[in-house]
């Protein structure tokens, strides 16, 4: 707001002035920012009115209230309290019977039993999981220009819900989300899928551009931004381009983290330029996935061959291979819109390489539809292209591995000569077998042994196929051109290579002035079923219309291709480990110094330990949850507090840095953090502590200077009057940060929709799964025709499909979370279009009519109907006045309908009455 920002300048300027004076007058030694100091273990302070306190945390609150001379609000009435805690823990209202039973339950542990029951209900995770999904900007689409759907993103959503329900320790929750794929490898087997799924936290990072692989640096920025805000409460994004202006986060700090995620392989959702998803992560361990891949590939090959035989069409493969190398290099294709046409992660490269259309191989035995390949210009002195393999095979696994590579080497120029090398083995520099390619010939080398395989025709494409038998440590294969292939028999793999088979590279060095001859590479593939002989016709034919069993065959193939050989997750796996270079001013083309991977120095981080072998994500996760990290526990307990009380002890839950607000009660924050860690990072234990407190059980008063009138919610409430306090003064100012009453709140978007469904009996309480997205085999979304859909359903709203470039209309209207950036807290805005929703939306009308029809079907008279509707919608009986009003309303409404000759006036009037209740403030606010 304009006027405010102008007014706010003065204090800011004064503050700056004062700051600069301070600095110049005396160099005051500065303590580190409060949030970067270790978590303290403060004891609860002494209070005068100790009898009020139910838990130690009440002492913190009361001590402050006593200092300010403020009396806490009385205990909330029982109806209010049960309604509050039910919405708070489950996002749904209590039923009238539950409310009645609670009011009638005199047991001292009545409230505790209620909240424990709610904590144990599956609805708890659906509500609290949603809070976390807000923070991690969950969406079911990728967010690049065509907003590709991510059909398996829901697995991560449900993982979050399940984790909350299971009270998964928060440290473990974070470890799994950051490094679940690495943890999963260590077993146990029954947690494999869950842990891999957890890495959806990283994979759901926003994608950019219409060829999002080429904007991967922005996706990594989104990962780092979200990780910083969600876990550490720090805005790290600024440091991408310059040292953070406010927080002690340097550009090297940023790229130390960047390297970790650059060494990580993200599932790819598809984009306008590359319309298929890939690198989805198997939910079964490698030992099980490999044979199932073999079986899958075998069946796909058989079906494709059969369709080919019948001259019919077969859909293009969606999933390529277990290794998912992107060896046809289509992911890197240059395109309009700023694409670079260079290799992207997990490929690593050095030297002047390019991806171009003139390097497309004509052979189609493995990748039928390519457009580009990799080319190295003549005269290059050194280059290297490498990739850590996704699927790790060992000698012990005994498997056979089939490799394909197409290449075209140019004639030597008068000056250029030298040898290119393709090798596969273990990373980063131990070949099991090497192929040496010069302008004249190709040779096979294993260890010290080298053998020329055949001469080459310069400037012609050649195909190389290898069969590596890991069990017998041998390699065989063939090399040549169609009609001129030369097979070679078994050679021993290099004795220097001890397994595993997890790395491949193409490289070359030539120090002579002329450098290397030009070469092009394409169609690199690794798989566990034999590779067909080289051909220039695609293995897939576009055929005439199918009939009968041919159509069935194709359907089977489409299903296979869409679903894969096993369940897949939108997650991450280890990429090729490497340190990142600083990108000057955040531009990936302007590379600065290399920075060792590591963690933020300002909060005790350092370089990645020497023992780290992979990307460093596991080490990062351990650092985040280590007892010495000052932020992680503080940030999450502040969030939990915020979701209970409407605002956090730190009012800027995503920013604990210098620009954020300091905690209103630092001792309480540290007390909660300490208890939280001591409880084994149990979120439910923290809930119990908070819910048991006197602070939580206070009545709601107004949040402005108010009188001391405490109004009871109904005659059935019997508040316990707090004793020992002077009467609350009429002039007391109730500051929300004092927690001297419970803040009233409006229901959030999901709560609103879920409550309407719930009370009208329309809610499907079962968990939602995937969405009815179109099949991936048919995807062709572009920025001109982006993916766009709204899927209705009666599951809880957490299961609604949420899109990034087009928000769900209901969620957008009622201040739902931003699916593009971390939402630290929902805003509550009041706009007339929300009122129009209650007046006119078909959803409100349909649900109200369902309830009205049900009420009427019970065949009772008007008064019982009104009672039932009140109890169902609001959980209480109508007062006598309300009952009279309701009768009048129904009579008037019915009379007007009858006068207009409308059918079914009873039901229509009852539905209108139901809408009135559903649109009321009582229905939509929680005291």
């Amino acid at each position: 707001m304009a006027s405010d920002s102008r007014m706010n300048r003065w204090p800011m300027m004064l503050w700056l002035l004062a700051g600069s004076l301070l600095r110049t007058v005396a160099e005051v030694p500065k303590a580190p920012h409060w949030a970067f100091q270790s978590i303290r273990h403060p004891a609860p302070p002494a209070v005068t009115h100790a009898a009020w306190c139910q838990t130690p945390l009440d002492q913190f609150i009361l001590a402050r209230l006593e200092v300010r001379g403020i009396q806490p609000a009385p205990v909330a009435g029982r109806r209010t309290l049960l309604r509050r805690v039910t919405f708070d823990l489950t996002g749904l209202p209590p039923t009238a019977d539950e409310l009645d039973a609670f009011v009638a339950d005199p047991a001292p542990d009545a409230f505790e039993r209620r909240f424990n029951r709610l904590l144990d209900s599956p609805q708890y995770g659906e509500h609290w999981g949603r809070h976390w999904l807000d923070v991690v900007r969950y969406a079911d689409t990728a967010g690049e220009t065509a907003d590709y759907p991510v059909p398996v993103a829901w697995r991560y959503r449900n993982y979050v819900i399940d984790a909350f329900n299971a009270d998964k320790p928060y440290d473990e929750f974070l470890r799994e989300q950051i490094a679940g794929d690495i943890l999963a490898r260590g077993g146990p087997r029954d947690r494999y899928a869950e842990r891999v799924t957890a890495t959806g936290f990283l994979a759901i990072s926003r994608r950019f551009g219409f060829d999002s692989e080429n904007y991967h640096h922005l996706t990594l920025q989104d990962t780092i931004d979200t990780l910083g805000q969600s876990v550490l409460g720090l805005t790290l994004g600024c440091a991408r381009c310059h040292a953070h202006k406010f927080d002690p986060v340097s550009t090297p700090d940023y790229y130390a983290l960047y390297g970790i995620f650059e060494s990580t392989r993200y599932a790819f959702p598809g984009s306008e330029q590359k319309q298929k998803h890939r690198a989805l992560v198997p939910l079964v361990p490698p030992g099980e996935s490999a044979p199932r891949w073999r079986e899958f590939e075998g069946r796909v090959a058989a079906l494709t061959a059969e369709l080919e035989r019948r001259k019919s069409s077969a859909p293009a493969a969606v999933l390529r291979s277990l290794d998912d190398l992107d060896g046809d290099f289509e992911m890197q294709a240059p395109a309009a819109g700023g694409s670079k046409g260079v290799l992207v992660a997990p490929w690593v490269y050095e030297g002047p390489i390019s991806v171009s259309t003139d390097a497309q191989s004509p052979f189609k035995n493995v990748h039928p539809g390519g457009r580009v390949g990799v080319s190295i210009a003549a005269g290059t002195h050194a280059y290297r292209i490498a990739q850590q393999l996704n699927a790790v095979r060992t000698r012990e696994s005994g498997s056979k591995v089939y490799v394909n590579l197409d290449f075209r080497v140019a004639t030597n120029t008068p000056t250029s000569s030298g040898v290119h090398r393709f090798w596969i083995g273990s990373g980063p520099a131990t070949p099991a077998v090497e192929l040496l390619i010069s302008s004249q010939q190709i040779a096979l080398r294993t260890g010290d042994k080298s053998e020329v395989l055949r001469p080459l025709q310069p400037n012609q494409w050649h195909n190389l196929r290898l069969t590596l038998d890991l069990g017998s440590s041998t390699v065989s294969g063939s090399v040549g051109r169609p009609g001129d292939e030369l097979s070679f028999g078994e050679h021993r793999l290099s004795t220097a290579w001890r397994g595993p088979l997890d790395f491949l590279a193409v490289d070359g060095t030539e120090s002579k002035a002329g450098g290397l001859p030009a070469i092009a590479f394409d169609n690199l593939a690794i798989q566990e079923v034999p590779i067909p002989a080289v051909t220039t016709t695609p293995s897939v034919f576009a055929g005439a219309g199918d009939s009968g069993d041919t159509r069935a065959l194709r359907q089977e193939l489409e299903t296979l291709l869409a679903e894969g050989p096993f369940e897949l997750a939108y997650g991450v796996t280890e990429g090729t480990p490497r340190d990142a270079r600083i990108q000057l001013r955040g531009e990936p083309d302007k590379q600065g110094d290399e920075v060792p991977r590591g963690f933020l120095k300002a909060i005790g981080g350092g370089p990645l330990p020497k023992t780290a072998s992979g990307s460093g994500r596991l080490e990062l996760a351990e650092w985040l949850v280590s007892p010495t990290n000052p932020l992680t526990a503080r940030v999450i307990v502040n969030r939990i507090w915020q979701y209970h009380f409407g605002h956090g002890l730190v009012r800027t839950p995503n920013d604990f840095g210098l620009r954020g607000q300091p905690p209103t009660d630092p001792d309480l924050l540290d007390y909660l953090a300490t208890r939280f860690v001591q409880s084994g990072w149990s979120i439910k234990a923290l809930h119990r502590l908070i819910l048991s407190s006197a602070v939580y059980q206070q009545a709601s008063l107004a949040s402005r200077p108010a009188d001391s009138r405490v109004v009871l919610e109904s005659a059935e409430d019997c508040p316990v009057v707090a004793t020992g306090f002077a009467a609350r003064s009429r002039t007391d100012s109730v500051n929300a940060d004092d927690y001297g009453s419970f803040p009233r709140r409006r229901l959030g978007a999901e709560e609103t929709r879920d409550s309407i469904l719930f009370v009208t009996g329309e809610l499907d309480p079962t968990p939602g799964h995937g969405h009815p997205f179109p099949a991936p085999t048919g995807w062709g979304f572009t920025q001109h025709g982006p993916f766009s859909a709204v899927y209705e359903g009666n599951h809880r709203s957490v299961y609604l499909m949420t899109q990034r470039i087009k928000r769900h209309p209901f969620l957008a209207l009622f201040d739902g979370a931003d699916p593009n950036a971390s939402t630290a807290g929902r805003r509550t805005t009041t706009v007339p279009t929300q009122a129009l929703f209650f007046l006119n939306d078909p959803f409100v009308h349909a649900t109200a009519e369902h309830l009205a029809a049900r009420v009427i079907a019970r065949g009772e008279a008007a008064i019982p109907r009104i009672r039932i509707t009140y109890r169902t919608a609001l959980g209480r009986n109508p007062t006598p006045v309300e009952q009279v009003d309701a009768v009048k309303f129904l009579d008037a409404y019915r009379a007007a309908l009858v006068a207009d000759g409308k059918a079914d006036p009873d039901r229509v009037a009852m539905a209108a009455f139901t809408r009135v209740l559903l649109g009321s403030n009582e229905f939509l606010t929680v005291d």
Binding site: A2, S5, T145, G209, Q229, T235, A336, G337, G338, S339, G341, D655, G657, G660, L701, S703, R704, A706, R709, V711, R744, R746, Q783, G785, P786, I805, R807, A812, D815, D818, R827, T828, T829, T830, V831, P832, T833, Q834, A835, L836, L839, D841, V881, E882, D885, F889, A892, Y893, A896, D900, A912, F913, R915, V916, L917, S920, N921, E922, L924, D927
Partner: protein, 471 residues
């Protein structure tokens, strides 16, 4: 400030008999308003706010042409391009790729001629708008940051070419609030979804009240604006019953703006439900007016309908009206053939000219700023000598401003001989935005919002008000 729509007084007796007592809905509302006056706390985000300094414009009508209108075929005459058509031009970047490219100059599809007293040259693509040049300030030195539709569209709307940020309409709403509480402060009339989808009118981190309200021409132009119950009398019964419940609920709680704001919102919704259909009801517009816009009576199709509705919204005090002509496909993206510009121009040309004339004749052009733009221009050259279309071109393109505070009958800035680069007085998208805000009485550097520890603004970290455009 327009008074809230009131109920038909003939309903009063009816209502009184139905709900009993004197709980007339409007009366109740007036009472609430009185209670709320001067109250701190939950301030209505759409309350009208004073500008930072005396504004020239009270409202904006923002006309956005989707897909990239060719500047060298419309507002930017390039005699050299006519003369040198077919000759080669060397450029160091093409469609986002760096390199040394040899391109062929392509002849503009339409001839240019001088128009009006000022003699500004406009091509035959826009014969109607050409007649309005004495009211326009044509900017021939616009510059964007991205060569792709999605990013450039996001940029011209939000100042951000990558990340979702609040739309310019949301910023204006945030800065100035709404003059008419029965209508939203920011309305977007779009028959189809543009590039970057709803992000184009999203309020993003600004409060949701500032998001654009989408109007889609057709039976129900605004979601839920059509009364679903049979008669207004029935709906008033519901509203009265709800208001009574809400007041009883409020009475047993210390006053809370959270509750009263929501009670108020139903009143406003009721007003909106009455007033918005009235906005869309063109039956009382004269034949002459319809002809001016080129609109057939009864039709809701085309830019003519959008433009006339925009005038009616502007009349009623809506702060920012954006019109998007077409969506993310079948638009100005003329890669294949420049002649695809013809029907698109026909759709907007007379309508926009009609809007300008209509505003002028009603004296509204004096305090209404009309903006015409696209996300980028099109290449003056092509990779092939015989290409019929043009590619994306963000290095320079043309837009225009008209109305309040704008120097009429002028041309600002220039591109080079071929229309490839800015030659003089560049107007970057950020400068463009800064100037629009300035005309609304808002300083783009001070119109900020604190979000994730940073004060965000529409113009990011740059942008200057273009003085040469100001009257």
């Amino acid at each position: 400030m327009k008074p809230h729509a009131a109920f038909d007084p003939t309903r009063r007796g009816f209502l009184r008999s139905m709900v009993g007592g004197s709980l007339m809905y409007p009366a109740l509302f007036a009472e609430l308003l009185a209670q709320d006056s001067g109250r701190a706390g939950l301030e209505d985000p759409l309350l009208p706010r004073s500008p930072m300094f005396a504004p020239k414009a009270k409202r904006v009508i923002f006309l956005y042409m989707s897909g990239g209108v060719s500047h060298v075929d419309s507002w930017d005459p390039k005699p050299r391009l006519f003369a040198d058509a077919g000759k080669t031009i060397a450029v160091d970047e093409f469609q986002g790729r760096k390199g040394d490219f040899k391109m062929f100059a392509k002849r503009p599809q339409w001839d240019f001629a001088r128009h009006g007293k000022c003699g500004t040259e406009v091509s035959a693509l826009f014969p109607y708008m050409a007649e309005c040049v004495d009211d326009l300030c044509v900017i021939r030195s616009m510059r964007s940051d991205h060569t792709n539709h999605y990013e450039a569209t996001l940029g011209i709307h939000t100042g951000s070419f990558t990340f979702a940020r609040p739309s310019i309409g949301s910023w204006v709403s945030y800065g100035l609030g709404s003059e008419n509480r029965n209508l939203p402060s920011f309305v977007v009339i779009a028959p189809k979804t543009p590039y970057a989808g709803g992000q184009v009118w999203a309020s993003d981190f600004l409060p949701g009240a500032h998001q654009g309200t989408l109007v889609v021409p057709g039976a129900e132009p605004v979601a839920n604006i059509r009364r679903r119950v049979g008669t207004s009398a029935l709906q008033e019964l519901e509203l009265a019953a709800m208001a009574k419940m809400n007041r009883a609920h409020l009475a047993t709680r210390a006053e809370d703006p959270l509750l009263s704001a929501r009670i108020k919102s139903f009143e406003t919704a009721f007003g909106m439900q009455m007033e918005l259909p009235d906005v869309f009801d063109l039956s009382r517009e004269s034949d002459a007016t319809l002809q001016l816009y080129g609109l057939e009576r009864g039709s809701t199709k085309g830019f003519a309908w959008q433009c006339l509705v925009a005038r009616r919204l502007a009349e009623r005090g809506v702060r920012f009206v954006e019109l998007i002509d077409v969506g993310s496909s079948d638009n100005w993206d003329a890669h294949g053939d420049m002649l695809t510009h013809t029907p698109l121009a026909k759709n907007v040309d007379q309508a926009v000219a009609g809007l300008l004339q209509d505003l002028k004749s009603r004296g509204m052009l004096e305090d209404t700023l009309v903006v015409w733009t696209t996300e980028f221009g099109r290449t003056p050259f092509n990779a092939a000598a015989d290409a019929k279309g043009r590619e994306h071109h963000h290095w320079v393109f043309s837009s225009w401003l008209a109305g309040a505070g704008v120097k009429p009958g002028t041309v600002y800035g220039a591109s080079d001989d071929y229309g490839i680069n800015v030659a003089k007085d560049q107007v970057h998208v950020h400068d463009f935005h800064a100037t629009i805000l300035h005309l609304m009485g808002l300083d783009h550097e001070r119109l900020t919002y604190r979000h994730t520890g940073r004060d965000y603004r529409l113009t990011d970290v740059s942008g200057e008000v273009v003085q040469g455009i100001l009257a």
